[in-house]
Amino acid sequence: MISVTNLRKEYRVHRRAPGMAAALRSVFVRSYDTVRAVDGIDFTIGEGERVGFLGPNGAGKTTTLKLLSGLLHPSSGDVRVLGFEPRERDDAFLQQIMLVLGQKQQLIWDLPPADTFELNRAIYDVPAAQYKQTLDELVTLLDLSVVMAKPTRQLSLGERMKCELAAALIHRPRVLFLDEPTIGLDVDMQVTLRTFINEYNQRWNATLLLTSHYMDDVEAMCPRVIVVDHGKLIYDGTLEALAEKARPEKRLVLRLSKPVDAADLAKLGVIVRHEAAVAVLRVERDRVKESVGAALGNLPVVDLTVENPPLEEVMRDVFRKTEPT
């Protein structure tokens, strides 16, 4: 479905020192740096897979999505999506993909979203019956009926994002590229969008490649993650395995009926949080059984859960390890 081999994208960037003298000099003599936004990455994604594409700002995530959707031309390497070379922008290819950019919008600002949907229907040449069926489904699932007739400029950010998603799905694409689709949305709206995207994936067996800085998005939607940093691929596998690799420990969350001494907690693991009724400990994976037994036997525990460390912390560790020295 998607195959990427030794993909590179380089930009030539004008550099100059700060100050008036350097600015004047740069008018006559320009110096350039070559920035490697994507630096030789390889991966394949099968039909129906949901993959999170993670990395810090400037890691090359959005650039890769744009290379995969044909917006940018690779400097070198090979990209195939649905058997097409994206840079060719073949109509048959574009007919089967979509790209949602959380910080850009395609909706016509002064007209209601229904007019953008109609425009996309004409562009994608969607048969009338299919269009009606798809639109009815989108309106129901995303709860769009009240916003369909309002000018886009009067919609809230969440309503706009739902409409952006609907506009991008009018033609029932098989490959979904989502770049920060939940950015700036409240928690309820984030959950709505995640649920909807998962349902779309299951119903149409669509392939999904998502970038997001919200780890909840990734946990809810992507069993597999690809991690990039400084344009290079540093991990490709399951979320679970990534957490184990980066943070080989678990979290013990204890709810207590009365306060306990820190010294007693420290015997079980590293204290992350210590309050009167709650304590959170970091425990090596191979010591979890022993620590659970000791906590239940020696402390006034009313509830105990064993959790993976938060994904944000895992990712912070991953990126810290790849910092250039």
Partner: protein, 268 residues
């Protein structure tokens, strides 16, 4: 079969784009009314230089006052084409490139040049078609005769060629926005230079004649149709106009495709 399907798709797409532009114009009724009034005023002022010049002489470069009025009539008509059809969609490209929202155009399975060219129309600018009609009527009344049917057909064909050339020139100007960040002034410069098209072509001599015949062929756009209406256009000129329009369209296509290759899509 495929080309027929493609034709139907683009015809429907054009209809949807026109509909969206009309809806936009209707959304802001006061703006539309004001816009239409300004257009009428602007068209009226286009006559002022002509009145000034012909106030002191009977002919200019071999053209009488009513004959020159025909050129102004075509200029008014083409101004409508430029401001109502060509400029609104294409000038938006500059903003799309700057903000990176051209992404959404390039992601669509339709010709990008067609999509941007038909993205926006200004229906209010079409009030000037009436103004042009009144100018033609007055000019022929002064001449004491009407246009020949054949001349009218040729003039309409030339209008189509002129539209192609104007569109091509603006596409080439807009393509610069892929190379430099801000080129808003280029579009204004183009519409300002277009003012020269209100004068009969024989007014221009030397370098200006070459410029307005071959580089910015305004002579073909306004003087040729006026000559056709008067029954004075040599047949070879029609062929020249056809070849010129074809050459400009081809050049614009090449420049546009090269410019798209330079698109870097502003980061989000």
């Amino acid at each position: 079969m495929k080309s027929l399907r493609s034709y139907r798709k683009y015809r429907r797409l054009l209809a949807v784009q026109v509909r969206a532009s009309v809806l936009l114009a209707l959304q802001y009724r006061l703006d539309a009314a004001f816009d239409a009034a300004v257009e009428l005023f602007y068209a009226a002022t286009a006559l002022v230089p002509l009145l000034v010049v012909f106030g002191t002489r009977g002919t200019v470069a071999g053209w009488s006052y009513p004959e020159s009025l025909l050129v102004v009539g075509w200029f008014t008509l083409l101004q409508t084409v430029l401001d109502g059809i060509i400029v609104p969609g294409l000038t938006a490209v500059v903003e799309h490139v700057r903000k990176g929202t051209l992404d959404f155009v390039l992601l669509k399975p339709a010709d990008a040049e067609f999509l941007v060219s038909t993205a926006r129309f200004q229906p209010t600018r079409f009030t000037n078609v009436i103004t042009a009609g009144l100018i033609f009527a007055y000019a022929f009344h002064q001449l004491g005769r009407g246009p020949s049917p054949g001349g009218m057909v040729i003039a309409l064909v030339l209008l189509a060629f002129a539209t192609v050339v104007l569109h091509s020139l603006l596409i080439m100007a807009i393509a610069a926005s892929f190379y430099v960040v801000r080129i808003d002034n280029l579009a204004y410069l183009f519409t300002s230079v277009f003012d020269a098209a209100r004068w009969p072509r024989s007014v221009f001599r030397g370098l200006a004649h070459v410029l307005f015949t071959f580089v910015l062929p305004f002579a073909m756009m306004t003087s040729y149709p006026a000559e056709a209406l008067l029954g004075q256009l040599p047949p070879g000129r029609l062929l020249f106009a056809l070849l010129g329009a074809g050459a400009f369209a081809l050049a614009a296509r090449i420049v546009w495709n090269r410019a798209l290759g330079r698109y870097t899509s502003a980061s989000s």
